[in-house]
């Protein structure tokens, strides 16, 4: 079979997506999986049927730190309908794995490290019996000393190993720059732990047969999840298959395997039946993954004209002992603004709390709160428009790596956004505009998200019926993957989307990039592009012409004076694999998407209640593959940002680290009534350094800076600066203008 492989060592200046004439790329085509989803026919991981299916229910440690001495399951086993209580303290995983890892996560649950850690699983004939029996399992343990409070242990913070960025960076002399600056900002921001709260709880069905294990799981990255699962179980990779065709949201929380995955596989093997385990919402909060709380000192030094001479961003975050993953809050600080003297640091406080890992835009989501609030404070200190301050600090090249930007659109986004929003008409005196009981304010913030490319493969075939099939274990977690892959294949092969089928989320097909880090479309899409390119060459050969002399449109190949149905050119069918991997372009250019948020809030003059009333955002992310799904992704990010600004906060009990508000009634994600209409504009662009699609990541672009735009608007409305997120009304009340 043909493989068309590409390493991104050089820019791809000419894209087949520009020369294709099908005219579907970029269009706001309706999701091809839409009818199934709105009719309730899309199959999520807990919805596969098997005869003799048994139900698993996780048993969890009712303490936060200690060593298990005995698990008494006799009472549970005696309950009618209970099949077994499966205990395997050595093999159960302590916590989920981080995204993209190929090894097992921290394994073994004899020594419990956080409250609610899963330590056993009940298997029963029905869900009701399994749930009931789990309450009857009693766990005896020797308590050990846990570390639960963040503030008391910041002095014990350690330097973490490198993650998606190095933990420390220093250049020049920031102290000197601060001392000599005409204007400075030096403040501390705090953000709480958060939860992705995808609407579909983590769920697994494990089925063993002669070929090994099939795990139907709600997982974002099947190819690495398969490796993690195989390692955890001590099975060969060839014996494990992961299926994840539809995923009810992930936002990072389903990048790696979670405790239910391994427990369900072990249980199914032990009882010799397929087993299904769906986490309860409370279990998702307690025993999957949170975004770490952060404490960020952010410093800015500027000259008299407002040009930055120094930036300092020092972040403290937390994780379980030995985990090492840190919230890379300084990610965007590295390249968004100039300033030659810099310190970026991340230190980790080890705590007995639920694992920290990736949640939508790890790093930027909280780092840009501090950075974009600090820029607002600096603009005010200097007395200039915050948009203008950012324009003045848009550097010509990456200030740390000293390499060019692949493309750069910050100023263009700022200017277009300011105009569309009517920024000129904003309130200029904090607390200066009141309408009835409400104080009105406007705020803005910039956003950026690093563009990443991951290795990804896809297979595309065309049958004698002239229809194409795309196959990869890539996933669609709501991002629109099904649709954009059909658009890419269709554009290059000259097929309307109705004639392109896309099969995703099955590790029996070529390994895709998985969904995460906003890399899905660029990476997986490029692999489809390359496979389609190879098929286009085959079709040209069958036509007896060069590919560039042939036009593919509406299922026909056109060259010379001939117009031939594609199905007639493929014999029994043709197939090709596309394979993309990152190359030198990653080091030689700094690649990122950009945007600017503008919003209006009203704050109740008496109660401090905040309502977001208007939003405009302008974004640039290279080529937009589908205007409608891209817009939806951006809105989703902005709404996460509004939640971050106003309501979202996991509260840990100081006595045992447990999450007090572990459900959707107490952890407040935005609801319909919280969200105004959204005006979203894309600046069309191309980034030839990113990938053959010339498209950059968009899924996490919207969240960056969105929360800062809200708090900047709150300041504008009230004169109150909130640096301790979320900006709940208790933090505003004292500072509100006299009524």
């Amino acid at each position: 079979m043909t493989t068309n492989a590409l390493r991104m060592d050089k820019p791809v200046e000419e894209s087949l997506l520009d020369t294709g004439v099908q005219g579907i790329i970029g269009k706001g085509i309706e999701r091809i999986d839409g009818p199934l989803k709105v009719a309730g026919q899309a199959t999520y991981s807990a919805e596969y049927e098997f005869p003799d299916l048994a139900y698993g229910f996780l048993v969890r440690a009712p303490f936060a730190a200690g060593t298990i001495t005995a698990i008494d399951a006799e009472g549970a086993k005696a309950l009618p309908g209970v099949v077994d209580v499966v205990v395997d303290l050595k093999t159960f995983i302590r916590n989920p794995q981080q995204g993209g890892e190929t090894g097992a996560p921290t394994q073994g649950v004899k020594d419990v490290a956080y409250f609610g850690e899963p330590v056993a699983i009940v298997v029963a004939d029905s869900f009701e019996v399994a749930r009931d029996a789990a309450q009857l399992v009693s766990i005896r343990y020797e308590p050990t000393a846990g570390v639960y409070t963040f503030d008391d242990h910041v002095d014990d913070a350690i330097k973490p190993p490198p993650g998606s960025m190095p933990p420390y960076h220093q250049q020049g002399d920031l102290e000197k720059a601060m001392a000599e600056a005409a204007f400075t900002v030096d403040n501390v921001w705090r953000t709480p732990s958060q939860n992705s709260a995808a609407m579909e709880p983590h769920a697994s069905i494990a089925v063993w047969d002669d070929d090994g294990l099939t795990l139907y799981g709600s997982l974002q990255m099947p190819s690495s999840d398969k490796q993690q699962l195989a390692k955890s179980l001590g099975e060969r990779q060839s014996k494990v298959r992961v299926v994840a065709r539809y995923i009810g949201g992930g936002f990072g929380s389903k990048l790696g395997i979670s405790p239910d995955t391994v427990a369900t596989a072990i249980a199914a093997k032990a009882v010799g039946r397929p087993v299904k385990t769906v986490m309860t919402r409370q279990q998702v909060f307690d025993a999957t993954v949170r975004r770490s709380n952060t404490q960020q000192r952010f410093r800015l030094a500027a000259d008299a004209e407002g040009r930055l001479t120094g930036i300092g961003h020092e972040t403290l975050c937390s994780n379980l002992p030995g985990e090492g993953y840190f919230e890379p809050a300084g990610q965007a600080t590295q390249f968004l603004y100039g300033g030659e003297n810099r310190i970026i640091k991340h230190d980790l406080v080890e705590l007995n709390r639920t694992l920290s890992g990736s949640m939508r835009a790890p790093g930027e989501a909280v780092g840009l709160l501090a950075q974009e609030n600090a820029m607002d404070e600096l603009a005010e200190a200097i007395g200039i428009d915050p948009v203008e301050l950012r324009r003045r600090n848009d550097p010509a090249k990456d200030p740390q790596k000293d390499v060019p930007y692949s493309t750069r659109s910050l100023t263009r986004c700022l200017d277009a956004g300011a105009k569309a929003f009517g920024w000129e008409q904003r309130n200029r005196t904090p607390g200066g505009r009141r309408e009835g009981d409400w104080l009105i304010g406007q705020g803005m913030a910039a956003t950026t998200r690093t563009n990443m490319l991951q290795p990804s493969e896809a297979q595309v075939s065309i049958g004698p019926d002239g229809r194409a099939l795309v196959e990869t274990d890539m996933t669609d977690i709501g991002t629109g993957t099904y649709t954009i892959l059909a658009q890419i294949a269709g554009e290059i092969l000259g097929l309307p989307v109705e004639r392109v089928a896309v099969h995703l989320g099955d590790t029996n097909t070529p390994p895709g990039a998985g969904s995460g880090g906003s890399w899905g479309a660029g990476s997986s899409g490029s692999s489809v592009y390359l496979a389609a390119q190879a098929l286009r060459d085959k079709l040209a050969k069958a036509m007896g012409v060069d590919a560039d002399e042939m036009t593919l449109k509406d299922g026909h190949a056109i060259a010379g004076n001939r117009r031939v149905a594609i199905g007639e050119l493929v014999g029994d069918g043709i197939t090709a694999t596309g394979s993309i991997e990152p190359g030198k372009q990653e080091q030689e250019t700094t690649q990122a998407s950009y945007g600017a948020h503008f919003c209006e809030v009203k704050v109740h003059a008496v109660t401090g209640e905040v309502r977001v009333t208007r939003w405009h955002a302008t974004f640039e992310a290279g080529r937009i593959l589908n205007r409608q799904t891209a817009r939806s992704q951006c809105i989703g990010g902005i709404v996460f940002g509004i939640g971050t600004a106003l309501t979202e906060e996991l509260v840990h009990d100081d006595r045992d680290g447990r999450i007090v508000n572990h459900d959707l009634a107490e952890y407040h994600v935005p609801a319909h009534a919280d969200i105004p209409p959204m005006d979203i504009v894309f600046l069309d662009d191309r980034d030839p350094h990113a990938n053959p699609l010339q498209a950059k990541g968009i899924g996490e672009l919207g969240i960056g800076g969105a929360g800062a735009a809200v708090t900047n608007a709150i300041y504008n409305a009230t004169g109150v600066r909130v640096r301790d997120y979320p900006a709940t009304l208790d933090k505003l009340l004292e500072g509100l203008p006299a009524v």
């Binding site: 309730g40 807990a46 995923i247 629109g480 609801a671």
Partner: protein, 173 residues
């Protein structure tokens, strides 16, 4: 027990602890109704019982003898979508799709409440209030969408509601 689901008679034996949601999903292969929280906090399980929207996770199956239940599967199928289902596709009123059946069932129930002239928390008058977008947002706030398709959901519902306007006017006369 027996009840009508999507126009079909059903017979089932349910554990007294089985919720209506689990009956549908685990016993009757009607997995269109989703479980997001099992505590009445998210709306993903919304179905219509005797014409009214209800959280199927908050009610026990045994309480529904002889009831007329409509789930997302009963509203339309991929080849023959209900107007609201089609409007959700057109306006991209979903992303992952997991909250979507609940949003759509909830919207069906909600539009009926509006037709009957029921007020909401944001209504200016108690009788037959104006059906503004703010009303849609308020009345749909029991259905969480973490993908945050909210503005698109409002657009989808608005389009269907406006198309039905004549019906509503007649009913009010």
């Amino acid at each position: 027990m027996q009840f009508t689901i999507n126009g079909q008679p059903y017979q089932a034996e349910a554990d007294i602890r089985t919720s209506l949601l689990d009956l549908l999903r685990e016993h009757l292969s009607l997995t269109g109704s989703k479980k997001g929280c099992d505590h009445g906090q998210c709306g993903a399980c919304t179905v219509l019982v005797n014409g009214r929207r209800i959280n199927a996770c908050l009610t026990l199956a045994v309480m529904h003898q002889d009831d007329d239940i409509v789930t997302i599967e009963g509203l339309g199928s991929p080849n023959k979508l209900h107007p609201l289902q089609a409007a959700f596709v057109k306006h991209d009123g979903f992303q992952c799709g997991y909250c979507t059946p609940g949003q759509i069932c909830s919207a069906v129930g909600m539009l009926d409440e509006v037709e009957k002239g029921w007020p909401s928390h944001v209504s200016a008058t108690l009788n037959d209030p104006d059906f503004t977008d703010e009303e849609i947002r308020e009345r749909m706030s029991g259905n969480i969408c973490r993908c945050s398709a909210y503005p698109n959901i409002v657009d989808a519902i608005r389009e269907v509601a406006d198309a039905r306007e004549p019906v509503r006017a007649e009913a009010a006369e």
